[in-house]
């Protein structure tokens, strides 16, 4: 039980665990970290596929099915609650937790979700071996893993109705970059709307933001800040149009797939230069 204003320490609940179960716990958490990183990677792939000329339907379906499998397993484990709320939004029934193909590729509101998790730090996770396969993820993604993992653990506390509260809090948290002064701010904001002690706001608020160094979180911020948000306009997504793309998303794609230079990436500079030409022509016509 958490009372207002108390900073919850990670070490709570860890006392008196025998060596054996500690090893077991580590294996289990390593597995769930790998699973989480796979989930993140898959979601990024689905988002990125809409930035290319025309997504390969087979590939998209396979990735979406993988995400669905992971979600099903996480629901089974009970670690899916928090992520569910993020994707489905308030008002959707639990049966809709299993995310459909198109939901995953939807517009801005959902795409902003990764930022939601970036603010939470998880000291314990960061120290562990995140993934067995070292080529799996870049540092920033693995930290997303750690971030979400923590949120997942305390997910049971999260009530649906607090989602909007979370989003408000998240903006505030982002702006001030994880200073530990956030706690009070959130607590006061959420105080009035709590239904029970276990509320989102309190969950966020009671975290001690450990290791507040900008490091990996800011790297993640950087990655997403370069993204041209016009991509996530629904119209843009539906028509598959690309405005003059910035290097951000392509950097991300490159960093994820270093050894695989896809032909579709090669074609985008041509597309880009054509669009630049078009812009140029438009400028002349408009006379600006």
């Amino acid at each position: 039980m958490f009372s207002k204003g108390t900073k919850r320490k990670f070490s709570d609940g860890d006392e008196e665990i025998s060596d054996e179960s500690l090893v077991g716990a580590r294996v289990a958490s390593s597995y769930s970290l790998q699973r989480q990183s796979l989930l993140d990677m898959s979601l990024i792939k689905l988002q990125l596929c809409h930035m290319l000329v025309e997504p390969n339907l087979c590939r998209s379906v396979l990735i979406a099915n993988t995400v669905r499998q992971i979600q099903e397993e996480m629901t089974h484990d009970g670690s899916w609650h928090m992520v569910t709320e993020a994707f489905c939004g308030p008002g959707q029934s639990p049966s809709e937790r299993l995310v459909a193909t198109e939901v995953l590729c939807r517009s801005r509101e959902q795409d902003a979700e990764p930022k939601l998790f970036s603010v939470i730090s998880y000291e314990g996770c960061r120290e562990e071996e995140v993934v067995a396969d070292e080529t799996l993820c870049s540092v920033s993604v693995s930290d997303t893993v750690s971030n979400v993992c923590l949120a997942g653990r305390v997910g049971q506390c999260w009530e649906k109705s607090e989602l909007s509260g979370v989003e408000r809090d998240e903006e505030a948290l982002e702006d001030s970059r994880l200073g530990s002064g956030e706690d009070e701010e959130i607590d006061t904001e959420d105080g009035a709307s709590t239904e029970s002690p276990k509320t989102t706001g309190q969950v966020f608020g009671t975290f001690e933001i450990k290791n507040g160094s900008p490091g990996p979180d800011s790297a993640l911020e950087e990655l997403f800040s370069d993204v041209d948000t016009s991509y996530y306009d629904l119209d843009t997504m539906l028509t598959g149009m690309q405005s003059a793309p910035k290097m951000g998303p392509y950097d991300l794609l490159d960093s994820l797939a270093p050894s695989h230079s896809s032909p579709s990436i090669v074609s985008t500079p041509t597309c880009r230069s054509d669009l630049n030409e078009l812009d140029h022509i438009m400028e002349i016509i408009v006379g600006s």
Binding site: Q34, R35, L38, M41, V53, E54, N56, L57, C58, R59, V61, L62, A64, N65, T66, R68, Q69, I70, A100, T101, E102, V103, V131, A132, D133, T135, L136, C137, T239, G240, M241, L256, A257, P258, S259, H260, S261, S262, P263, C271
Partner: protein, 457 residues
């Protein structure tokens, strides 16, 4: 027509046949005059006699090679393949409705059986199929007296004699002309085309639908399979390949991204959404992972020449199915099992989505498929032996024998072995073809085409 092989006729592929490097045809040499970089070969197909070999590339071009006539003077009685015809089959298009470019890349080429002096093939990109006629012209009519030397028609009263033009020989000219264009029938990307054994119809398959066409009719096609759900959000499975049965013109199969194959009989219903047979191997629960579905996705399906079996290629293996047995394949061959522990990185770099093709030899005694690092694998169905070969310039000299390659999967690496971590995943052999009658194979390695044949003893 296929005749079942007698014991004496069956060729033991791996032991007695020494694969020999015959020729290397590099797209660079052919297309460089235009200043373009070489293009990636996207499909390879022998015609029914094996005399012609067609390749399609990412730039929408088709290059056809023809086998040299065997010459009694040469020591080697088998001919080499030389360029016969080159033409631009598809151009890039722009779909204005979706604001998307339609790639000109040739996804598939299929030859029609030869019925006269000309050759016909179907070539398909993502959206459009074209029927091309390739014909030779080696004579020219000369002696017309109706025109002046500069080509202008002469006045009628100046023509005083009736002269019949004479056919004179000329340098051989090979012309390719588009005879039919089958367009606007596919919303999704075409992955397969297959000519029916009735030689009148053919099918084309995209991610969600299969259409049946008549070769003479371009303005309509019949939709025979449609797996598009009413709500696209419920989509979990796509069609990955389809093929007509080699002898029964009412039967075809299609494979899915979930590792299943459905055999359909067009006599049963106009819309073949309900299959006649359903082929699926039960999953091994001990090897289940999050990648299980992706690696079970079938990238190619091919009937044997006999029509009794079919072969499917998934990410790690090739399976041979008896059409009479639906619950499991009769043979399974591991192509590169050492990649199973690398699935996570292969997922990250997207290699796990690579679509490898597979092919039978003429007598159905052997099968071949590609792998990474420019390796390709051949399996002898009778002896159950397999061989790994490499298609690379460094290791290939004309008339030299190919050395078998081996991937070291663990422990101490022997000399000449290559370790899994040294494999180049950018060098993938997705497209291979086997001559319908002889032991000649064509292997496409990115933008290079290699042709190998067995050594004459």
């Amino acid at each position: 027509a296929y005749a079942s092989p007698t014991a004496a006729a069956v060729v033991l592929v791996c032991d007695t046949v020494q694969w020999c490097f015959l020729s290397i045809l590099n797209n660079c040499l052919i297309f460089l005059p235009f200043g373009y970089a070489a293009d990636i070969i996207s499909t390879v197909e022998f015609n029914c006699s094996g005399e012609l070999l067609a390749t399609g590339d990412k730039g929408g071009r088709v290059v056809i090679f023809q086998r040299e006539q065997e010459s009694k003077n040469r020591l080697l009685s088998r001919g080499e393949y030389n360029v016969y015809s080159t033409f631009q089959s598809h151009e890039p298009e722009f779909d204005y409705l979706k604001s998307l470019e339609i790639e000109e890349k040739i996804n598939k080429i299929r030859w029609l059986p030869q019925q006269n002096a000309a050759h016909f093939l179907l070539s398909a990109n993502d959206k459009t199929i074209k029927l091309w006629k390739i014909s030779e012209r080696d004579k020219r009519a000369e002696g017309y007296n109706l025109k002046d030397e500069d080509g202008r028609l002469r006045d009628q009263f100046r023509i005083t004699t009736l002269r019949v033009p004479v056919l004179m020989p000329m340098d051989l000219m090979v012309e390719a002309s588009p005879r039919r264009i089958f367009a606007n029938a596919h919303t999704y990307h075409i992955n397969s085309i297959s000519v029916n054994s009735d030689y009148e119809t053919y099918l084309s398959a995209d991610d969600l639908r299969i259409n049946l066409w008549h070769l003479e009719i371009t303005d309509r096609s019949f939709n025979i399979v449609d797996i598009k759900p009413a709500n696209m959000e419920e989509l979990t499975e796509v069609i990955t390949a389809a093929e007509c049965h080699p002898h029964q013109c009412n039967v075809f199969v299609y494979s899915s991204s979930k590792g299943t194959i459905r055999l359909c009989d067009m006599r049963a219903a106009a819309l073949c959404d309900r299959h006649s047979k359903f082929f699926e191997e039960p999953e091994d629960p001990s090897s289940r992972s999050f990648f299980s579905e992706i690696i079970s996705s079938i990238s190619d399906v091919k009937f044997s020449h006999s029509g009794r079996y079919m072969m499917t290629r998934d990410y790690l293996s090739v399976k041979v199915w008896d059409l009479n047995m639906e619950n499991r394949p009769v043979e399974t061959y591991q192509v590169h099992e050492y990649l199973r522990s690398k699935l996570c990185s292969l997922y990250e770099n997207d290699c796990i989505f690579d679509k490898f093709e597979c092919c039978w030899n003429g007598s159905d005694s052997a099968i071949m498929t590609g792998s990474y690092n420019n390796f390709f694998r051949m399996f002898d169905r009778n002896t159950r032996r397999d061989i790994t070969l490499e298609a690379s310039r460094e290791n290939s000299k004309p008339r030299a024998m190919l050395k078998p390659r081996k991937v070291c999967t663990g422990g101490k690496r022997k000399k000449d072995e290559i370790s899994v971590d040294s494999l180049d995943f950018n060098k993938k052999i997705l497209h291979t073809a086997w001559h319908p009658k002889e032991n000649v194979i064509a292997v496409a390695a990115t933008n290079n085409l290699y042709i190998f044949q067995d050594k004459i003893n």
